[in-house]
Symmetry: C2
Subunit: 137 residues, 2 copies
Amino acid sequence: MMSTIHSPQSTYSISDLSKEFDITTRSIRFYEDQGLIKPKRRGQTRIYSLKDRVRLKLILRGKRLGFSLAETRRLFELYDADKSSSTQLNTMLDLVNEKKSALQQQMDDIKVVLMELNSAEQQCKAALEDNSAKKNK
Amino acid sequence: MMSTIHSPQSTYSISDLSKEFDITTRSIRFYEDQGLIKPKRRGQTRIYSLKDRVRLKLILRGKRLGFSLAETRRLFELYDADKSSSTQLNTMLDLVNEKKSALQQQMDDIKVVLMELNSAEQQCKAALEDNSAKKNK
DNA sequence: TGCAAACTTTACCTTTACGTAAACTTCATA
DNA sequence: TATGAAGTTTACGTAAAGGTAAAGTTTGCA
């Protein structure tokens, strides 16, 4: 099932994607189960499109940022949703603003922790030099 | 058990902390269970120190960044560890660098997602204006 | 002294995000 | 043709991070 033609591929097998993103096929099927991706089928074999691949990338990035699969699915749904419904658009705006402020908070957290880690690193290095100066094992 | 004196308090009850950080007492005891904090006891009542409070804050910040409790505990352990053991110091350096690059990656992720969210926000607003111009419900 | 609020332990329950195993089908190819 | 790789479904298991309930202390204070 492994496709050999590279570059701008337009369909992918499940193992193509599991290798590319270094996740198990189990995970990919699970995301489908949860309604995050909807690959076509050829017989009972799943055929993934470019859109599916983009979504996978978004799912994984979301995960790195602590989004639950349910949250990510919600974002997908809204993104696909009816653009003529003002109610939907407002719901989306609310969600977007919620996410934005959460991410701002995360940015701030990260900056603080990075500074602390840098400081810890310096202390470690200093202590190591100190140790080697004193020549104790 | 609620202490009434404010400002630089030096001990706290479990409910003091649960209120301050807006988490349940169950969570606080769970963190203790997992070896992240070690409050003193008066009888069987837990007495939390400033250090415990700082750790709680660190635990929660870690959680916001997607650190597991086990990871946070590991960082605490290394921080408390023997500063004369070069092996330990090197282990710590490794862990610190690992965390640093993960956080850098997160920062990059966040920047991308923030840009996308901003763009989504603009599109929503434009669509809303469009809708109201066309006066459809 | 005697309640009510706050504290405690113990223990089982829940959700999320998969892992793992079993048993089956499809397909290329030796 | 048969064997092995890759795919599939179904189903049970698991780890993390608590929630919740039961049943029992402790303590302030009216």
